[in-house]
């Protein structure tokens, strides 16, 4: 197994989570601020995740051709749900007393959002990003099917050639990656929560 595949996998995951956050965070905020659009946004992100990952990647490939951009777009769509959901929930669950105090003291809507609500919702948003990251590590296995490389290619190759060792090495690397992300981000989360508890 080559380092290149590991890095490739990492590259796909990190880039998609980055974009997914860039898209999901505003979408979550939008769902929070705009009551009529809320249901649509939340529902749409949920539906996206019910589509089998491979099928989603396949459909994206139809539009963008085989390659890394397809993988990243597919992964972004697939990891939107936890980020959008958690952003919305994090903002929506803030103690109403805090929101009322902020309004009553004369903070404008955007001032409230940026100086109070988003900082308070951030630990929850971060949990969403963590879930998205771990999911993306697993789903990126399909990248190889649409020409995106990554660790999936080792596993696929192992299955095709009936090579147990290859399958195991691919799987273990994948698991290690997921665990490192999960544990590392959970640690950061814990720190943030300790400070933000009210």
């Amino acid at each position: 197994m080559t380092m290149k595949l590991v890095l490739e996998h990492l590259y796909l995951v990190l880039l998609s989570v980055l974009f997914s956050t860039a898209v999901g965070l505003p979408l979550g905020i939008f769902a929070y601020l705009n009551r009529p659009a809320r249901k649509v946004v939340l529902w749409a992100s949920e539906v996206l995740q019910t589509i089998p990952a491979l099928a989603l990647l396949g459909m994206v490939m139809v539009l963008f051709g085989a390659g890394k951009p397809t993988v990243i777009i597919g992964l972004v769509l697939y990891s939107l749900l936890p980020i959008v959901h958690n952003t919305f929930l994090g903002l929506d669950n803030i103690n109403p007393g805090i929101k009322e105090a902020a309004r009553g003291m004369g903070l404008s809507k955007w001032d409230r959002l940026f100086s109070i609500e988003l900082p308070l919702a951030f630990p929850m948003v971060f949990t969403g990003i963590r879930i998205a990251t771990v999911t993306a590590v697993g789903v990126a296995v399909f990248a190889t099917s649409v020409g995106g490389g990554g660790l999936g290619s080792i596993i696929n190759q192992g299955i095709r050639t009936q090579n147990m060792r290859l399958i195991f090495s691919g799987t273990l690397t994948l698991m290690a990656m997921a665990v490192v992300f999960d544990a590392g981000m959970a640690l950061i989360e814990k720190r943030m929560n300790r400070r933000a508890t009210h």
């Binding site: 089998p52 491979l54 099928a55 396949g58 697993g138 696929n156 009936q162 691919g170």
Partner: protein, 212 residues
């Protein structure tokens, strides 16, 4: 509608096969997970170590289970079903365990105080209270399984994945979409169904309680 004439029958069969895989895998997974979850919740000392382990296993992509089982069992439907069932176990197991442990301790004490045996307390108090969480796990497992069942075709076992794989391999959009949309709809319908069931069984006892 040339497509329908060419593939219509095959597509219907594929949907049926796909659904059977999901049904069998989730049923097996549910029974196993529920049993394991209950057992784990009885011995919290072991469970403390088991839970992170479950989370780790959950990160293993379904491909791996299918691949490994393919190598040991060969190209039989059981391979796909067992692999999917293993994958379906984790969310249900986790939610069962967490659901059981988060039952209010004072209620357990009350159950004991009422003279309930451990079994009675489990079946009459703990499981009903953990039910929403357990069903939440079931829903998650079902949606995942619909998604991962696509992989059955990777080892030539049919299902909607066949359309997707062939579509990707031959760059045939129609085939990809023909495989993706039914599986998406299947996932959505099943999760709506489970939500409806959850609403029914979790609301009924609450109403009784408030009336009492």
């Amino acid at each position: 509608m040339n497509f329908w004439n060419l593939y219509g029958h095959k597509l219907l069969v594929a949907i049926g096969v796909h659904f059977l895989y999901v049904l069998a895998a989730v049923s097996i997974g549910f029974v196993v997970a529920l049993t394991l979850g209950i057992l784990l919740s009885r011995v919290p000392s072991i469970a403390k170590m088991a839970l992170p382990l479950i989370s780790v296993f959950q990160t293993i992509p379904g491909v791996v289970f299918i691949g490994l089982l393919f190598l040991s069992l060969g190209m039989v439907p059981a391979t796909a079903i067992v692999a999917l069932a293993i994958y379906a176990v984790f969310p249900i197991l986790k939610n069962t365990y967490v659901g059981l442990l988060s039952v209010d301790k004072s209620l357990l004490e009350a159950a004991r105080g009422c003279g309930m045996s451990k079994m009675q307390s489990l079946f009459e108090v703990e499981l009903p209270l953990a039910l929403p969480s357990i069903i939440g796990g079931l829903r998650m497992s079902t949606v995942y399984t619909v998604s991962w069942a696509v992989l059955a075709s990777m080892i030539g076992l049919g299902g909607l994945g066949e359309f997707i794989y062939i579509g990707i391999a031959t760059n045939n959009n129609a085939l990809i979409v023909a495989g993706a949309i039914p599986s998406g709809i299947m996932a959505i319908l099943l999760s709506l169904l489970i939500d409806a069931v959850k609403k029914r069984i979790t609301h009924a006892p609450q109403k009784e309680a408030s009336a009492a």
